[in-house]
Subunit: 249 residues, 2 copies
């Protein structure tokens, strides 16, 4: 196993950072790494907002559901799906591009582009000895996030990434069995095998929680998922992304 | 600059591979690297189909618009947004999870999860001396792709990744200026600066094409984008993703 694969496979989300800011040089290296990712038909349909302002970070922490590490970190990045510059280009070419811009296809392209860039950023940061955590909670209240960060139409903040000097070393959480995620030549729809894999995985995850909490917690993964599915979250999203100009046709 | 950042920043899409298959060990390492990526609320809402069957690869190459490297490579991965196992879990808990599963939010979560995993896979492959290219053309005809790979509901193939031993060393394409992609504290909506950046970038990209083609091509980036926007692509996508159970509310 080479160093890069070791780094990739040793990933943990870091949620507690030392009180030390990233340098501008570090930020630049991280953003340049993000930009080096592949992009669908070279569209580069994303942008990144780096938040330094302490008050803005605190407000974002509130909006994301009160996670302290959104404010307390070395730097906070907001990754956005972005077709705003494409809209400006169309304007400049006196072209009505709304059909393309508003399509579900382009919505997907912009999410994929932004996410490829983000994962490059996270790995670049980790390779520099920094830690990182994705903040999906940013999607809790996107209207407010957009106001705060002056986000124009055709842009959707997708998630945050808090980066900084790690002040914790959490355990690695075991993923689903490889054969559950990875299929060969066709999707394996054998439900009996599927449920068996989930069952085995539940036992593994439950043992992990029991060990970590001295027996206090023994959640299973399917139990967690069932709980999550029972509380539909962020149901305003469809309307919100349409208001931003995406996913309308 | 450390080795990892060098690797990330030296990324090029490889579209010509030696006639040599990946070993099962290499495939396993790549998939395990994919699995190590972060996942929203630990949902692991993706799956990967590795295609070895030569006929299936050739059919996928056709469906993706006739790109030879979809069939001719060391291994072909299809990355899917996947809430199928979550649907099975809900069934098992006698729970109606359709509101959550069908939400635009969960559609985004599944795309993000699959894409984080994919970028880990690509970088793992590159660190092993392999090359890779994303195949967005897979989305040209997803109904046929789903038939071929026996994809169940609540699963959407998002893109392919062809991996193999590189048989070419393409130039690196210059990305948008950093300050165009990266904003500080708020989104910079200064249109004059924006158009100026695009103009500078157009000159750079045009010089790149002229050099590469001995003056035959001199496209600008905004020209390419305007061309792309003028031909709305994959407009069946909204209906398709809804039929698969996603993005309905």
């Amino acid at each position: 196993m080479n160093k890069m694969i070791e780094l990739i496979q040793n990933h943990r989300s870091i949620r507690k950072f030392e009180d030390k800011l990233l340098s501008d040089e570090q930020i630049k290296t991280i953003v340049e790494s993000a930009q080096a990712a592949s992009t669908s038909s070279f569209v580069q349909a994303y942008s990144i907002i780096g938040v330094k302002d302490k008050q803005k970070k605190e407000r974002l922490a509130e909006l994301a559901g009160g996670q302290a590490y959104v404010a307390e970190n070395g730097h906070f990045f907001v990754f956005c799906a972005d077709l705003y510059r494409h809209q400006l280009i169309a304007e400049n070419y006196s072209q009505d591009a709304s059909e393309a811009l508003e399509s579900t296809e382009k919505f997907m392209v912009a999410i994929i582009d932004a996410t490829l860039a983000a994962q490059n950023a996270v790995l670049a940061a980790e390779s520099m000895g920094l830690g990182a955590v994705y903040i999906g909670g940013l999607r809790n209240q996107l209207t407010e996030v957009c106001e705060l960060l002056k986000i124009p139409p055709y842009v959707i903040p997708l998630f945050g990434v808090a980066v900084g000097y790690p002040a914790q070393q959490p355990d690695k959480k075991q993923r689903l069995p490889l054969q559950h995620i990875y299929h060969e030549d066709e999707y394996n729809q054998d439900k009996v095998a599927y449920y068996q894999q989930l069952n085995d995985y539940d036992e593994e995850i439950s043992a992990y929680y029991q060990k970590r909490t001295n027996g206090k917690r023994k959640d299973t993964w399917t139990g967690q998922m069932a709980g999550l599915l029972a509380k539909p979250a962020r149901m305003y999203m469809k309307k919100f992304v349409e208001q931003q100009g995406f996913n309308k046709r």
